[in-house]
C-alpha cells in the first residue's frame, strides 16, 4: 500500500488515529520488530520511532510514573505493558467505513456474496450516529467498474492456482478460439477489465479482455506461479508508428487529452497522431469509432482498409 495518505487530512487527526491503533497493535503482537511494525503502519522506521517516543509521554493526569503508557524498544523489538485502556483500536469512523465500501464497489461482481456479507457485518458494528453519517456519505461516492460476472470465477482460479479454459473472441483475427490458461492477475485499465495469464495454447503470457471471454470453466489442474512481470496495456500512439491519423477540430481536444505529447497540432485546429498499424482490425475499428472526424493520411493500404470498412457499414 504505497503512497502518501496524509493528503487532505489534518496532521493531528492522522497522527492520533495512528497512535490509537499502535498501542493495541503492539500489545497484540508483543516483541514485533520495528521494521515489521513500520510496514504495518506504512511508515518509515524513523517516523515510527518518533511516534513511539510520543507515546512514552502519554499518560493520564496526575502523570505519576505509573500513569504513563509503558512502551519500549529493546533490541529492535517493540513492547508495551498490558494496557487495559488500549486493548483494541477504536471502531471504524464513518469516513473509514465509507472509503472501504466505496473501494468494495470496485470488486463487486468479482467478490460475490462474500463482499456483501462482509459489509453487512461491518455496518452492524457501527454506532448508530456513525451509521447515519456513513449512509449519508455513501450517497456521495460511487466508484463502479462494472466488471463482468467472470471476475468472480477468475479471482478464485487465481487464488487457488487452477488452470482455466474459455472461448476467446480475438479482435485482431475476428474469430473465436478456445484457450487454456494459467490465470495470474486481474486488472482494470481505463475501466476495462483484463486477465493477465500464461496462455498454454500460445506458450506465452497474454492479456485477455474479459468482455471477449465466453464459456469460462475453471479446471482442477493446479499450477505453480512464477515470478510474473506486470504487463502494461500498450499505448498505440508514438512518433515512430507507421499510420498517420488526422482529426478534425471537433475531436482534437479529446485526442490531446488522450495522447498528450504524441499529438501534433494542425493549423486548422485539428490534430495528428501516429499510431501502430500492426493490428489492422483494431485500426479500422478505432478510426471508424470517430464517426467521420478521423482520417488516415497514410499509408495507402490503411486508407483502403478504412474505405472498404466504411463501404461495408454503409451497405447495411
Amino acid at each position: 500500500m504505497p503512497g502518501d495518505w496524509s493528503i487532505g487530512v489534518s496532521d493531528v487527526h492522522e497522527r492520533l488515529r495512528r497512535l490509537l491503533f499502535l498501542v493495541p497493535y503492539i500489545s497484540k503482537h508483543p516483541g514485533i520488530s520495528v521494521e515489521e511494525l513500520a510496514r504495518a503502519l506504512s511508515l518509515g522506521t524513523d517516523q515510527l520511532l518518533k511516534e513511539l517516543e510520543i507515546l512514552t509521554m502519554v499518560g493520564r493526569p496526575p502523570f505519576q510514573p505509573d500513569d504513563y503508557i509503558d512502551i519500549y524498544v529493546e533490541n529492535g523489538r517493540v513492547y508495551v505493558d498490558l494496557d487495559q485502556r488500549f486493548s483494541a483500536p477504536p471502531r471504524l469512523t464513518a469516513a473509514e467505513a465509507t472509503a472501504l465500501t466505496a473501494a468494495a464497489e470496485l470488486l463487486k461482481p468479482a467478490a460475490g456474496g462474500a463482499l456483501e456479507s462482509a459489509l453487512a457485518k461491518l455496518e452492524k458494528v457501527l454506532p448508530a450516529e456513525v451509521r447515519r453519517q456513513y449512509r449519508d456519505m455513501g450517497r456521495k461516492i460511487d466508484a463502479s467498474v462494472q466488471g463482468p460476472p467472470e471476475l468472480a470465477l477468475l479471482a478464485k482460479a487465481i487464488a487457488d492456482r487452477r488452470e482455466a479454459s474459455f472461448a476467446y473472441y480475438s479482435h485482431g483475427r475476428g474469430a473465436v478460439e478456445q484457450r487454456q490458461v494459467r490465470p495470474l492477475e486481474l486488472f482494470s485499465h481505463r475501466g476495462q477489465w483484463y486477465l493477465h495469464a500464461y496462455c498454454l495454447s500460445r506458450k506465452d503470457e497474454r492479456l485477455f479482455r474479459l468482455d471477449r471471454i465466453r464459456d469460462l470453466a475453471v479446471t482442477n489442474t493446479p499450477f505453480e506461479r512464477g515470478n510474473g512481470r506486470r504487463p502494461m496495456v500498450p499505448n498505440p500512439a508514438g512518433a515512430a508508428k507507421e499510420v498517420k491519423v488526422r482529426f478534425s477540430e471537433v475531436v482534437a481536444p479529446y485526442i490531446r487529452e488522450r495522447f498528450g505529447q504524441h499529438v501534433r497540432a494542425l493549423e486548422d485546429g485539428g490534430a495528428e497522431v501516429n499510431v501502430a498499424g500492426d493490428s489492422e482490425r483494431w485500426l479500422v475499428q478505432w478510426v471508424l469509432s470517430f464517426g467521420g472526424e478521423a482520417q488516415v493520411v497514410e499509408p495507402e493500404w490503411a486508407r483502403r482498409l478504412i474505405a472498404q470498412a466504411a463501404a461495408a457499414a454503409a451497405a447495411h
Binding site: R91, A95, A143, S144, E185, S188, D268, Q295
Partner: protein, 342 residues
Amino acid sequence: MERTERLLDLVALLLDAREPISWAELRDAFPEDYQASSDEAAERKFERDKAELLELGIPIAYVQGDDDRKDGYVVDREAYYLPEVGLTPQELAVLYAAGSAALASGAFPGRSDLAHALRKIGFFAGTEVPTPRVRMEWGAVPPALEQDLGQKLEQLWNGSATRKSVELSYYSPRSGQTTSRRVDPYGLAMRRGIWSLVGFCHLRQGIRTFHLHRIRALKVNPLKPKTPDFDVPSDFRLDEHVASYPWQHRIHAPVDVTLSLRGEISKLAPRLFPDAKVHSEGSSSRAVVTATYTDGLLRYALSLSPDCSVLGPPAAVERWSQMTARILQAHETACPAIGASA
C-alpha cells in the same frame, strides 16, 4: 503541551475513569492548556479538542448526573472499542483485495481513511492476508499526473463530506475554454476509469458533471470549515448524472435506437450493451438501446461494423449514412482535407 499529546492524554483519562469527569477536574488535570487563558478561551479550546475526538470516532459525551453519579464527561467504553466483527477469511481477503486495489490505483478519495479501515478490520485476523492479485489503473491521465489527480480527489472528497463549496477552473474540450466557477460538491463518481465530480454549478445554476482531469485549479472554501455551505437535495442520485457508456451523455432526450448484431458479435450483445433489451434470433440479435447521445452510440456501433448496424429510428439510420459517407469520402480518393464536408 502539544495538541496530539493532550488529546491522547484526554482519551487515556476518559477511558480509565470510573465516573464522569467534570469540567473543573479537566481544567485541573491540564492546567497549562485549559487554565492559562480566559475561561471562555479555555472552553473553546476544549470544545475544539472534543470535536476532534468525536471525528476520530471516540464517543465522548456530557452526562447529567443524578443521585448516583455526578455531572461530567464520559467515554462510552462499549462504543469505543472495535469489537470482533467475525469476518470469515474469505470476507477479509475480499475486503483487502478491494481496498488494496483502490489504494494501488494511485487516485482514490479517502485513501487515508481506507488505509486505516483496512488496518482495523485486519486487527483481529491472526494470519497474514494474502496479496491480492487485482489491480486498477485509471489511465485517464498519464501516470505523472496521477498524484495531482489524487490530490484533487482528496480535496473534493473532503469538500463533499463536509459540504464546503469549491472554486474551480474548468477546461471544456467542447468549447476549448477554461472557466472559473463555484460548485457545491454533491459527490464523486468513477465510470470506466474516469473520476467525475457532480455538483451544483453556480455559474450555470444547475447540477453539472465535471471530469477531474479537466479541473485545472481547485480550492475548497477555507472559511468556517465546520459549517456546511449547502444542503444536498434529498432526491439527488449520483448515478443519474454520470454516464457509464458513450450513449448516456444526456445531450438530448432519450431515444430508443435498434441495432442489429451479427456473427460472433451477436452472442456478445448483452455484454456490449449491458443496458439494452436484447432479442436473439438464430445467428443474429437485435438490441434496443436507450440513448441520450445517439452519435455516441452510432460511433460505438461503427467500431463493431460490419457485424453491427442500425435499424431504427429513421433519424438514426440517416445519421449512420451520413457518418459512413463521410468516412468513405475521406478515404476513397487522394486525401482531401478533413472537415470540408461537415
